[in-house]
Structures are given as structure tokens and as C-alpha cells.
Amino acid sequence: MSPVIIALFVLLGVGLLLALWLMGIYNGLVVAGNRFKNAFAQIDVQLKRRYELIPNLVEAVKGYMRHERETLDAVIKARNSAMAAEQKVAANPSDPAAMTELNQAEAQLGGTLGRLFALSEAYPDLKANQNMLSLQEELTATENKIGFARQAFNDAATNYNIRREVFPAATVAGMFGFKEAPLLETAGTERAATKVSFQ
């Protein structure tokens, strides 16, 4: 048997091992990727809950804040666009464009909600309204849950991103199109909501 053939076989064996190694890295990326996508499901439920609460809140304050029509409309509008963006992200949490949209929409919603709460300070009747209080309470609770779940999501996404950038995996990630996971930013809303409810 000629040395050439032996060399060929050795090369083949090395090639096979290499293929297995790459396969291992590939699977590792798949698992890490599925992990962060799964982590979004937890936020998903809470965000939806919050989008359900906001119209109720607007309904509750409407009677008192007759002169703030504009603010109330802005809240509903921001809520609707955040909801639309959220649906896109839920369909594919690894889509950076959708995530950017959600981040922006959430910031918008946080801003308008903050304004609503700030304005509500001027209405003592409203501040004593039981319905308003319980809605605010529930909104705060939901924000807290979102905050915790978002931290878990961002941790999982960061873990995936780090895995993806380390040397051998980076090549595999490039070859098979493992894209960088987008992070979910802190929206201003929970800070605003928390401030109000902890007074």
C-alpha cells in the first residue's frame, strides 16, 4: 500500500473528525439560540398582559382627565404600535429589525404613560379612585415581571452572542448564518410607573 494512499486515509480521518467537531459547534449554537428565543416567551406573556391593561387604564382615567384627550390618544396609539411590534418579535425573536422597532415603540409607550401618570397627579379624585389604584398596582407588578424576564432574555441572548463570537464557532456561525441576537432595551415605562406607585 503506497504512502500516498495512507496519507489520503489519514487526511480523510482528520477531515471526518473536523466535520464532527464542526457539527458539535453547530449544535451548541442551535441550543444556545433556542434558549434565548425561548426566553422571549416569558416576556411575551407579560407584555401582552400590559397591552391589555393599558386600555382599561385609559378608560378609568377618561372621566377625570377630560382635558387631556391628546395624551390619552397618544397612549393608545403608542400601545397599538408597540403591540404590533411585539407580535413581530414574538414570531422571530432573532430578528434585529423587529427588535429595534419594539425597543422604539416601548420607549414611546413608556414616555406617554409617564406623561399620563404625571398629569394624573393634578387630579386628587383620580388618585383616590380604587379602580385606578388597582390598575396601577397591577401595571407595576407586570412591569416588574417584564423587567426580570427581560434580564433573563438579555442574559441568554448575550450568552449566545459570546458563544457565537469565539473563534471556531465564529466560522461556523458565519457559514450557517447564525446572526447576532438583538437585546431588549429597558423602556422608560417601568421607571415611570414604579415611581408613581411607590409614593
Binding site: 500500500m1 503506497s2 494512499i5 495512507i6 486515509f9 489519514v10 480523510l12 480521518g13 471526518l16 473528525l17 466535520a19 464532527l20 467537531w21 457539527m23 458539535g24 449544535n27 451548541g28 442551535v30 441550543v31 433556542n34 434558549r35 428565543k37 425561548n38 426566553a39 416567551a41 416569558q42 411575551d44 406573556v45 407579560q46 401582552k48 398582559r49 407588578a141 416588574n144 415581571k145 423587567g147 426580570f148 424576564a149 434580564q151 433573563a152 442574559d155 441568554a156 450568552n159 414604579t194 411607590f198
Partner: protein
């Protein structure tokens, strides 16, 4: 049923031996084939007959195959190191959040939660696979890190009873303690099958190349053919190993499912629907190739060798064992709806009548009659009786809404654990809260405060089940969040200067079932196989158990003696030490020693503890909590002692 958890574990060990034989055989045949392939090559190369014995070719073939199979297995095993969740994620499973609003998913969660409470294990995370067929699997290294995964087809087509049958089948796999073997097998099977996967790639590339010298092409085709044959052999052995592990156990799991639910129509109906559905039980995800032995029903489409290599017994045969009248007519399958009312109606809001134990710290616990005797109880470890199912359903429904909702979701669930750790005495509780306020995030602290009142009002019987319910949500924390959580738990435990029994048990449960996911665990190998050598730590464990169960010295001595006799199997020289000499710290050290024993000894340990508890025909909550700590540390499910049930 004659078999029990411990026998199953022993038989799993024996099975491992059989598998090693298969595995070695597979490797030997692979080496022989590679050798033959190399020989054919050198004949082709030399264009004349050569001697069939060429040691240098063997030197090439043996390490080559060994390296390949070993390397591939090692990769896969390393990937699966994080247990059941990794398997579920690899198959593309999506975890069902506890807060889900989807009625079908909610129903699935309820079914799994009830089953887990009945079996005395933490609620496993539940995954849904995007597969149209009806199939399911359970995976993990131990009952504590198991996951249950169910296909979308199960949710779409199965009624609640059928779903319960499937989940019970999967739980019997979890409780039988052979999942560790299952998950390791994935690695080995992948090692053998890797050749078939690579062979397919090689065939494709070599077939495509038409240019070049004639004999080079011939060589490549020969090579491709060789690797293809190798792949076939590998796949054959892979399937053979899966079939060997899986087939017999499926009947057992079916039978257990009937026993758990006392309803042969549930699992029978599910199997019939598999037969009636066009997609059957097929799993399309290619990652399932090396995990076919873990599924509820055959994950692969039938082929020529399907009968011999099927991972599961024929469907009709399985159904006949459950329903002898079955004539082979499969029903037409239609999607089922979920009654909203079904989900809501089973929520009485109050507590089950028999769990009305007053939570009065410092007073002796209300004693209650027990169901059976030690031996009988232990022979049922790893089995769920309808009585426990009923009890678990009552526990599940009787959990106050505010707490059940809190247990569904990570943020509230981790605060819930803080609240569970607070001492009933106001002064100690205030001290703990001060420490927590200093150490934790303000919103965590606020959430804990919100949960203090309902947790303090909770009967003792419900505390551990509540923790079990919260487990899937706690597992959704990120490693960073888990570190912070662990630190807070330590702060709360240390704050009151003494470790209470419940704190100790809670720590055992958290350590066994949560840390396992986040921190790499050292595998404990059995180092003790003689019960006599472990008599001393056993006495330490029994002493505390005896004192916790009965305040009177004579009764305690009798309980201790019953336990020791149960362990040694006759007379013994040990005496019950005085109450002051029994501490949780010593108990814990003794338990760690006992944990390093073989399954047969663990069985004796559990028998001895159960006998000690049952010596006075009563089980108190404190005894049950200690037993839970013992069983969790020994990694076996709790014997079915229903606390608080009076008949």
C-alpha cells in the same frame, strides 16, 4: 406491580452491561469493515492479490474508528451535560411559560403539575415540539432535572384524559430512574451513527465529481460505497441498541400509566389516535435520529427493517394489552377543543377539607393516620396511586390563587421562595426582612412583602408542594439571576441564626433541583456496598427522624429501633442518642455519606426511614419534610405517605 424504583435502577445498571456489549460489538464490526475497505483499496492500488493479513492496516483502522466514534460520542455527551433541557432545546422544543394564556397549553401544565405533586417530585419544565404527529418524551439525568416534551399534535388531538395518559407514561419513565441511561445513550448512538451521516455526505460529493483520472474516480466511488456500508452498519447498531433499551420498557410504562390514572381509556385512546392520524407519531426533526428510544411512540417512519429495529412495540399490540377488545379499527381523528370552564371550574379557591392543619409554630403537629406500612410504601416508590392523584389534585386546586399565580412566573416565584423562608415569629421575621431589604433589589423586596401574608396563612402541608409548583419558573432564571437568588436565600437562612427543619429541606430541594441546572455537578459514584459500614450515619439520620416524630423518649426509642431493624434486618447495637445531641448539621453530614451508596442500600435506607416514621402509625408534616430532604438528597422520589389524609 412487582417492580419498584430501586429494582428498576438495578435493572438499568444490568441493561447498561448489555448495551456495552452491543456497543463494543458495533465498534469491532466497524473496525473489521474499515479494515476490509482498506484492504480492498490496497488490492485496487497494487492491481494484484495481496495477503489478507496486513497489521499496518489494522493499526490504521482501529484507532481511526475508535477516535471517530469516541470523539463523536464525547461531543454529544458534552452537549447534553446540562440535562433534559438541552435535549428538549436540541429538538426545537419551546418551553411553555407558566403564565401561558393558551387554553390547550394551560391544560397540559395542569396535568403535568398534578402528576408531579402526586409523585413527590418537583414540577418539570414542559416543552412543546412543533410536530403535527402525536408523540412525547421525558429526558433528564435524574427525576430532579427532568423535562417533559409533548408534540403540538398531542395538544391538538388528545382529550384531557388521553393527555393525562401520555403524561403518566412519561412520568413512569422519569420515576423509573433510567433517564440517565437514556440520555447517555444519545451520545453513544450518535457516535456510531455519525459515520452514516458522514457517509451520506461523502457519497454525494464523490458522485458529483465527473472529471479527473479514471482510477481516482473509481477509488472515490469505492470509498463512498465503503463509508455508506459503514454508515448502514452504524445505523443498524444504533437502532438495535435503541430497540433493546426501549421496547420492553414501553409496555411497562403503558401499564404504569394505567395504574397512575386508573384509566386505560386515556393512554389507550391516545395510542388509537396515533393509529388514526395520517402523521401518526412521526417526528420530523432530524435531531430525533439519535433519540428515538426516548419517545412515547415510534418517531421514525417504517422501513424494511422497521419490525426488527422498531424502538417501540407495534401499536396494535400495545393497544391490545390495554384494551383486549380492540379490533384494529383506528378512529378518525379530529382536533379537540378545550372547555374554558374546565380550566376555571376546578378552582374552588378554598383548601381541601383534610388539609386544615392549623399553622401554630411551636405546638406539636396534628398527628394523622397513615396509609400503609414501610415495606409496602417503599415498594411503591416511583409509582403513583389514584389516591395520591386525588390528593395531588386537591392540593393543586386548594392552593390559594395568589400563591399559585405567583409560582407561575420567575419574578414572583423567586420572591415566593424568600417569603417561604421567613420565620413565623415576628421578631425573627423582622430581622430577616431587614437583611433582605439591604441585600435585594427594591422590587424584589416589595414583591416578597406582598406575599408574606398569604404564605404565612398557608398550611404546613402546602409549603413543599408550593415550592414544587414554583420550580419550572425558578429554572427560567438566567445564571446571573440564579447567583443573586442563591445569595439572598443564604442571607435569609443565616439571618435567624438557626437552621430550621423546613429551611433545611428547602435548601436540599433547591440544591438538588435548581443548582443542578446552573452549576456543574459532581457525579456521585456508589462507593459503599455494605450496609453494615453505613450503620453509624444511618443511626444519626434515624435519631433525628425519631425525635422529630415523637416527643416522648420511649416512643422515640421505639421508632428509632424499628428504623434500625428495618435497615440492618435484625438486632443491632445502636441506641437512640439524647435529643440534644441530634443536630441538623450532623444529620446532613450523615446523609451525604449515605448518598454514596449503591441503589440496593438506598432502598434499605428509605425503608428504614419510612419504618421509623410509621412506627407510631402517624406522619407529621415535619417527618414528611425530613423524608423529602432524605429522598431528594438520595435522588429518589418520595414514598407515597399522604400527610394529612384521615380516613
Amino acid at each position: 406491580m412487582a417492580t419498584n424504583f430501586f429494582q428498576q435502577q438495578d435493572s438499568a445498571r444490568r441493561k447498561t452491561f448489555q448495551l456495552v456489549v452491543y456497543f463494543v460489538l458495533a465498534i469491532l464490526i466497524l473496525i473489521a469493515l474499515v479494515y476490509g475497505l482498506l484492504l480492498a483499496f490496497s488490492m485496487y492500488d497494487a492491481r494484484e492479490p495481496v495477503s489478507w493479513w496486513q497489521p499496518e492496516l489494522l493499526l490504521l483502522a482501529a484507532p481511526g474508528v475508535g477516535l471517530l466514534v469516541g470523539g463523536a460520542s464525547a461531543f454529544k455527551v458534552a452537549q447534553l451535560a446540562s440535562g433534559g433541557q438541552a435535549v428538549a432545546l436540541m429538538m426545537g422544543g419551546e418551553e411553555v411559560p407558566g403564565t401561558t394564556t393558551d387554553a390547550r397549553q394551560k391544560r397540559l401544565l395542569n396535568v403535568v403539575e398534578e402528576m408531579a405533586l402526586a409523585a413527590g417530585v418537583p414540577v418539570p419544565p414542559v416543552y412543546v415540539l412543533e410536530e403535527p404527529g402525536i408523540n412525547a418524551f421525558a429526558a433528564g439525568y435524574a427525576p430532579g432535572d427532568a423535562v417533559v416534551a409533548v408534540s403540538q399534535g398531542c395538544l391538538n388531538y388528545l382529550t384531557r384524559d388521553e393527555l393525562q395518559g401520555v403524561v403518566a407514561h412519561e412520568f413512569s419513565h422519569i420515576l423509573n430512574g433510567d433517564m440517565r441511561l437514556n440520555i447517555r445513550l444519545i451520545g453513544l448512538i450518535f457516535g456510531i451513527m455519525a459515520l452514516s451521516i458522514i457517509g451520506r455526505v461523502l457519497m454525494l460529493t464523490s458522485g458529483g465529481r465527473s472529471s479527473g483520472r479514471n482510477d481516482a474516480r473509481g477509488g472515490l466511488v469505492l470509498l463512498g460505497l465503503g463509508v455508506f456500508v459503514l454508515g448502514l452498519v452504524g445505523a443498524f447498531f444504533g437502532r438495535l441498541i435503541m430497540a433493546a433499551v426501549s421496547r420492553q420498557r414501553e409496555y411497562l410504562a403503558d401499564a404504569s400509566a394505567v395504574q397512575f390514572t386508573r384509566n386505560p381509556d386515556g393512554i389507550g385512546g391516545a395510542l388509537k389516535k396515533i393509529g388514526g392520524l395520517a402523521e401518526g407519531s412521526r417526528i420530523n426533526n432530524p435531531q430525533a435520529a439519535e433519540a428515538g428510544h426516548m419517545f412515547f411512540a415510534n418517531a421514525f417512519a417504517g422501513g424494511g427493517l422497521a419490525g426488527l429495529l422498531a424502538t417501540h412495540p407495534p401499536l396494535v399490540e400495545r393497544i391490545r394489552r390495554l384494551d383486549p377488545q380492540f379490533a384494529g379499527q383506528f378512529p378518525e381523528v379530529r382536533p379537540v377543543g378545550v372547555d374554558r370552564e374546565e380550566l376555571e371550574a376546578r378552582r374552588p379557591g378554598g383548601l381541601p377539607p383534610f388539609a386544615g392543619m392549623p399553622r401554630l409554630p411551636g405546638l406539636p403537629q396534628v398527628p394523622v393516620p397513615v396509609l400503609g406500612f414501610a415495606d409496602e410504601a417503599v415498594s411503591r416508590v416511583g409509582h403513583v396511586e389514584p389516591k395520591e392523584m386525588t390528593y395531588a389534585q386537591a392540593l393543586h386546586d386548594g392552593m390559594p390563587d395568589v400563591l399559585r399565580v405567583a409560582a407561575q412566573e420567575p419574578f414572583s416565584a423567586h420572591a415566593l421562595v424568600y417569603a417561604l423562608l421567613l420565620d413565623p415569629r415576628a421578631d425573627l421575621r423582622d430581622l430577616q426582612l431587614t437583611r433582605l431589604k439591604a441585600a435585594a433589589e427594591p422590587q424584589d423586596f416589595a414583591e416578597t412583602l406582598r406575599l408574606v401574608a398569604p404564605v404565612q396563612a398557608l398550611p404546613d402541608t402546602h409549603r413543599l408542594p408550593l415550592l414544587d409548583l414554583a420550580m419550572p419558573a425558578l429554572r427560567q432564571m438566567s445564571p446571573r439571576q440564579h447567583r443573586a437568588f442563591r445569595a439572598q436565600v443564604e442571607v435569609l437562612m443565616i439571618a435567624d441564626q438557626r437552621l430550621s427543619l423546613f429551611e433545611y429541606t428547602l435548601r436540599c430541594v433547591l440544591h438538588r433541583h435548581l443548582d443542578a441546572q446552573f452549576l456543574p455537578q459532581r457525579q456521585t459514584r456508589p462507593v459503599h456496598s455494605s450496609p453494615q459500614k453505613l450503620a453509624h450515619p444511618m443511626a444519626t439520620v434515624l435519631a433525628l427522624l425519631a425525635w422529630e416524630g415523637q416527643p416522648e423518649p420511649e416512643q422515640a426509642a421505639r421508632a428509632f429501633d424499628t428504623g434500625m431493624r428495618g435497615y440492618i434486618g435484625g438486632d443491632h447495637i445502636h441506641r437512640l442518642p439524647p435529643r440534644e445531641e441530634c443536630s441538623l448539621a450532623e444529620f446532613d453530614a450523615a446523609l451525604q455519606t449515605l448518598n454514596q451508596s449503591a441503589p440496593a442500600i438506598k432502598r434499605r435506607i428509605v425503608i428504614a426511614c419510612t419504618a421509623c416514621i410509621l412506627a407510631n402509625q402517624q406522619v407529621t408534616v415535619r417527618e414528611a419534610e425530613l423524608l423529602r430532604a432524605i429522598c431528594d438528597t438520595l435522588d429518589c422520589p418520595l414514598p407515597p405517605l399522604v400527610v394529612g389524609e384521615a380516613e
